[in-house]
């Protein structure tokens, strides 16, 4: 693995950790869900970098899009 590719891997993983941390500490529920979705999207990018495009498409479709939609429906059922 060349140093450039290793740097990209580490950058994606660090951004994933930051996004997951934001999902925990953000007070606004919609912002927290969007941070979780960003972590999922970065995970799908990492799958693509590891030469698994099939898993990456499934992760982007299910993990980032549909889970976020269901979380938004759950937030709509809550009171402010």
């Amino acid at each position: 693995m060349s140093p450039m590719v290793a740097f990209v891997h580490i950058a994606v993983l660090v951004m994933m950790i930051i996004a997951a941390f934001l999902a925990v500490i953000l007070k606004n529920l919609l912002s927290a869900v969007i941070a979780l979705s960003a972590a999922s999207l970065l995970l799908s990018l990492e799958f693509y970098l590891l030469h698994a495009p099939d898993v990456a498409i499934a992760e982007a479709g299910i993990g980032a899009a549909l889970t976020m939609a269901i979380f938004i429906f759950a937030i709509r059922a809550t009171k402010k």
């Binding site: 499934a58 939609a69 938004i72 429906f73 709509r76």
Partner: protein, 158 residues
């Protein structure tokens, strides 16, 4: 109307939901040539429907996205899948009787590096289309049910 998003989200949704659906159907139809297949493409198309439900709310899409229609599409996909599995029963279950036959999806596969011939694969593309229809309809039914349930919960709490 309650349960809607802002005008920015509505405008962006109108611009991109068609492109998401076309990309999903592209992934389904090219399932035997490129990464992805029925499940992944169906999930992408269902995410376009989820975008519509999130943006316009449950009441906004009630007249266009009907649960019964998607349930019918889901059953159609499953019946298509098992029917093409039984059609090959002259030799064995799931026999690929269309491959290299010269008819529908019947061209012989090209050896070596090539741009890809869509008309190959026999029953594999048909199975991909069946699974794609099943998955997109099932996930959309899940999304619509969740959306309706959140409206009911909100009315109960207030």
């Amino acid at each position: 109307m309650k349960g809607e998003m802002s005008i920015i989200v509505k405008t962006i949704t109108k611009l991109i939901y068609g492109f998401i659906m076309v990309y999903g159907f592209y992934v389904i139809v090219h399932g035997h040539l490129t990464p992805g297949g029925g499940f992944q493409g169906g999930a992408i198309v269902a995410s376009a429907f989820a975008l519509l439900v999130v943006t316009y709310g449950n009441q906004g899409v009630n007249n266009y996205l009907k649960k019964d229609v998607f349930s019918l599409v889901e059953s159609t996909g499953l019946v298509l899948f098992i029917a093409f599995a039984f059609f090959g029963l002259g030799v064995t279950f799931f026999y690929n009787f269309l491959a290299n036959s010269g008819g529908l999806f019947g061209n012989p596969a090209i050896i070596g590096v090539n741009p890809g011939d869509l008309n190959t694969g026999g029953t594999v593309p048909i199975m991909n289309i069946a699974v794609g229809l099943e998955v997109l309809a099932a996930l959309t039914v899940i999304i619509l049910t969740m959306s309706a349930a959140s409206e009911i919960t909100k009315e109960k709490e207030n």
